[in-house]
Structures are given as C-alpha cells and as structure tokens.
Amino acid sequence: MTENTLEKPKKDTSVFATLVNHMLKDRLAMIGLILVVIITGSAIFAPYIVPHNPNKLNVRHRLKAPSSEHLLGTDQLGRDVFSRVIIGSRVALQVALVSISVAGSIGLVLGMLAGFGTKWLDSFLIILFDSIRSFPTIMFALAVVTLVGPSLNTVILVVIVTSIPVYGRIVRTQTQAIIHNDFIMAEKAMGAGKVRIILVHILPNVIGPLLIIASMDIPVVVTIEAGLSFLGLGVRPPTASWGTILNDGYAFIRNTPWLVIAGGAPLILTTLGFTFLGEALRDVFDPKLRREV
C-alpha cells in the first residue's frame, strides 16, 4: 500500500516533466501546441468570435476584397469569409472527433480479437482489413457518395470504414506482442480467464499507442472532410466548411484569390499543428511507434 502511494506520483510527474521538457526544447512541438489551442479554441467559442453571421447573404456586398469590416473579404453571396473560416473549424474537428472515436473503438475490439483469437479469425480479419485498405480512400468515398448521396454523415461513414483497419492492425500487433510475455503465461498458469487477461492486461497496454495513432490521424481526417467538401460531395451548403470555401473560391480564382487563400490557410495550419504536436507526443510516450507509422 505504502509502496503504491510512493511510487505513483513520482512516475506521473516524471512523464509530465519529460513532456514539458520536450515541448520547451522542441520549437516545432510548441508551434504545434499553439496552433492546436488556437484552432480548438476557435471551434469551441466560434459563435462568440464570429463578427458576422456566417450564413447571412448580402448580395450587394458580394466578392468584396478584404477590408477592416470583412477581414478576409466576402464570397459570391456576400457572406463574411472570416466568419465562415472560424465556424468551419467546427465541422472539421467534429468529423475528426466523431469518426476517430468510433473507428478507434471498433478497431480496438477487432484488433484485440485478431491478436487474441484463433489463427483462423486472425487471418480472416487481417484479409478483411487489407481488402478495405486496398481502395484508395478518395475512390472509395466517391463510390459511397454515388450510392447514398453527399452529406456530413456520409463523410463520417467513409472515414470510419477506412480507418478501422489502420487501428485494428496496430492493436493486433500490440496485442500479439503482449500475449507472448511471461507475465501473461504466469497469469494463465494461475488460472486467469480470457476476459481478465484482455481487460486487465492487454487493454491498458494497447490503449496508449492507439491514442497516439488516433491523435496523429486528426490531420488526415480533416483533409478527407475538406477534400470531399471541396469536390461538393461532403458538407451540404450553406454549412461552412474549409472545403466548401475552397470550392466557392475555385470558381472565382482569377478575380477573387482571397477566397482560395482563406480556405486553404486554416487547412495548412490545422494539419501542421496537429502533426507537430502528435509527433512530439509520440516521441515522448512511445518512441517505438515511430517505425510503425
């Protein structure tokens, strides 16, 4: 008992200290953290930040150049682009959060089943994972959209289906690495059931790497959502997404370049921010993962 209370806080502070140390030394990680804070902040507080109603039409002020009233100008329907960029962060992060957590949970269960189950089940799941991975993501998305029509839910569905194999494979590899350890053998020898082994020993060990991979997947998902919305196959108008802003801007690229610039810049900053931060987290918590990604 005393041993536990003494050991634990020490270990926690050391991990936290390593993280802080790493962040202070690694300038990129710091930039990443700042970007992530700004982006998630603007997504959470979007309704309080936006200077104008992002969906309010004002045709008389259409395609106006950036000014003090409209920081990033207005689009072809006279909507304030700055407000649309801010509110667009909500769609991006919402898709990332929902689809990554659903795909991560399903991938966790299937991956542990593959790693822990019989060889037959393992081979079956691996081949299923590989088959899904054999569609280039965007191609698969296009096929699904043709059948069920474009919507935010379609985007989330596509991301979930195509991400499950990635998580499943990581969890499987980790599970297999753990079950061959001596302490699992000892557990088995003492008569521990499968459920106990999975819940008490495997789950805590695989969840860390899974969380790191999941956090590094945020930029990928944001890119897919924006890409599909850019093609007009994701979020439906008038909802603002960085992709739809780019789509609007593409049509007017010759005379009103600020639309394309305004839609692309948050995408670049978001993907860079989450990647820099994710890589730092990975390097601190699980440097071994570096080889697998």
Partner: protein, 314 residues
C-alpha cells in the same frame, strides 16, 4: 522465393475478390430499389429491364456476385448508363493521362527526395538536415488539393508562367509537358518529404553497419563509400514503398485532375459521381483498386527478391 511468390499472389487475389464483393454488395446495402440506385434518376424502364437481365438482380446474391465476377474477368465492367459505351473502353481511354501524371509525379519526387534524404543523413544535424526535417513533415501533411489550388493561383493565375487548365494540344509534346508541370508538382510534393524522411532513416542505419566501417578503415574516399555502397542499400525501402505511393498518388490525381481540369481517371470518376453514373464509378474504382493491389504486390515481390528476410514474414 517461389513459395512466397505463390502465397503473395494468392493474398493479392483474395484481397481483390473481397474488395470487389464489398463494392458490389454496397448496392444492396443501400435502402431502396437497386436498379434505380445503379442507373440513377434518369433511368428509363427499358434500361432497368436490360440491367436486371444483365445482373440477374432477382437471383440470389451469391449467384449475382458470381456472374459479376465472370463478367469482370472477361474484361466486361458494364456499360455507361448514358452513352452505352463499354466502361472498360472509357476507362482505358482516360488511363494514359493519369498514368503520365503519376509517372512524372513519382519521377520528380524521387529525383529530389532521395538526394535530400541522403544529404541530410550524411550531414546530420546540419542546417539543411533540420530544414529537410521540417520540410518533410510539412509536405507530407499539407493536403495535396490545397497545394494544387495554391500552385494554380501562384504560377498560373498570378505569374502566368504555366498553363492553368487542360492537358495540352494533341500531338504537341511541349505543350502537353507544360500542362503536366503543375499537376505533377501538386501530386508529388508530399512524396518528396516522405522519400526524404525514409531515405534519411535508412541511410543512417546503413552508415552504421559493419561493411561501411570496413570500407572506411580501408581508407576509401567518403564520397565513394556513400554513393557506391551506402546509397544503394538505403534506397531499397523507398523502392519497396513506391507501390503504396502509386495508390496515394491515384487519390491525389483525382484532385489534381479536377483543379487543373485535366482529363484522366480521377476526372472520369468525379464526373460520373456527379451524374450518378454508377456503372462507370464502380468499374473505374474496381480498376484503380486492381492497379493499386497489383503495384503493392509487385513492390512486395521486388523487396522480397532483394531481401530474403521479408519472405518469412507473410
């Protein structure tokens, strides 16, 4: 090696079969009448009857799937709902445009990425190395369609150095090449960073190996050691990954072809999605999936041929 070859090809075949079944099964997973879904809103009763006859939609699912596979193996991917041309014919008429785009994208990214990775491994922790590190992460993460849009804006609209849209005049090679520059830039940029990172890592590993140390001990010039002995080994993992690279570039090509209004497979699929021409979409997605699986399989076989250790891990 023969055992590995057979096993790997078997896995590839099963992967394609499952992938195609999933794609075909999706028609039935969607609520509603499959005929209207496949043929889209503009279907006439005659078109529906013809497709029903062809696919045998009233038969059990397994038989439908069997028939579908039989058609695919005979090169029959179905017919375009509107023009009634063969899907395979349409697909292969567009493929050269996409193939040349992917080829040029791989080419320039390898020509820049490999030397960059090699240089930063040799001059470790130098300014160039650190710059390459940031550059790699940046180019890997920035979405390729944003690169495409920004380069269209900068080089075609503002600077007017390069043509903005199309694939160039038929028969005019220079014009066609000029039209390839920006799309190939956008599709390949991410791969430059990826290759640089990969080659740097494997170069560092190779440089620490015994035979390099021996070469140094013999007093061979550093330049010779790096270029003749180390680089050859360090490039192997990159070659092995080109197969996967083709798949990613096919996705990137969809965006590049749309942004630069280039003909190609991506544009074909996109236009068919917009008109809800499902036979063309499904046929083309199946073909690109087969190309993708084939290229990863070939890459795996090449690396297994070069490195016997891989053969044991299937």
């Amino acid at each position: 090696m023969l055992y590995y070859l057979i096993k790997r090809l078997g896995v590839a075949a099963i992967t394609v079969v499952i992938a195609v079944s999933l794609l075909y099964g999706m028609i039935h997973a969607v609520p509603g009448d499959p005929l209207s879904i496949v043929l889209g809103p503009r279907a006439t009763p005659e078109m529906k009857a013809a497709l029903n006859e062809r696919l045998g939609l009233d038969k059990p699912f397994v038989i439908q799937l069997g028939r579908f596979f039989l058609n695919v193996t005979q090169g029959d991917l179905g017919t375009d709902v509107f023009s009634e041309r063969e899907v395979s014919e349409i697909f292969f008429s567009q493929l050269p445009y996409t193939a040349s785009l992917v080829f040029f994208a791989i080419g320039w990214s390898a020509l820049l990425g490999i030397p960059l990775g090699c240089y930063s491994a040799v001059k470790r922790n130098s300014f160039i190395d650190k710059l390459t590190g940031v550059f790699s992460v940046g180019t890997i993460t920035i979405p390729s369609f944003v690169v495409a849009l920004y380069s269209l804006l900068i080089f075609a609209v503002w600077l007017k150095w390069l043509p903005a849209i199309g694939a160039g005049k038929e028969g005019d090679l220079w014009d066609q090449l000029a039209h390839l520059v920006l799309p190939a830039f956008a599709v390949g940029l991410g791969w430059v960073g990826y290759l640089a990172r990969l080659v740097r890592a494997s170069m560092l590993e190779v440089l620490g190996e015994n035979h390099i140390r021996t070469a140094r001990a013999f007093g061979l010039p550093e330049r010779k050691i790096i270029l003749t002995y180390a680089l050859r080994l360090a490039v192997l993992p990159a070659v092995a990954l080109l197969g996967v690279g083709i798949g990613y570039m096919l996705s990137g090509a969809v965006f590049a072809e749309i942004v630069f209004a280039r003909p190609g497979v991506g544009k074909l699929i996109y236009d068919s999605v917009i008109t809800r021409n499902y036979p063309v979409v499904m046929g083309s997605v199946i073909m690109t999936t087969i190309i993708f699986v084939l290229s990863t399989t070939i890459a795996d076989l090449v690396s297994a041929f070069l490195d016997p250790r891989i053969r044991e891990n299937l």
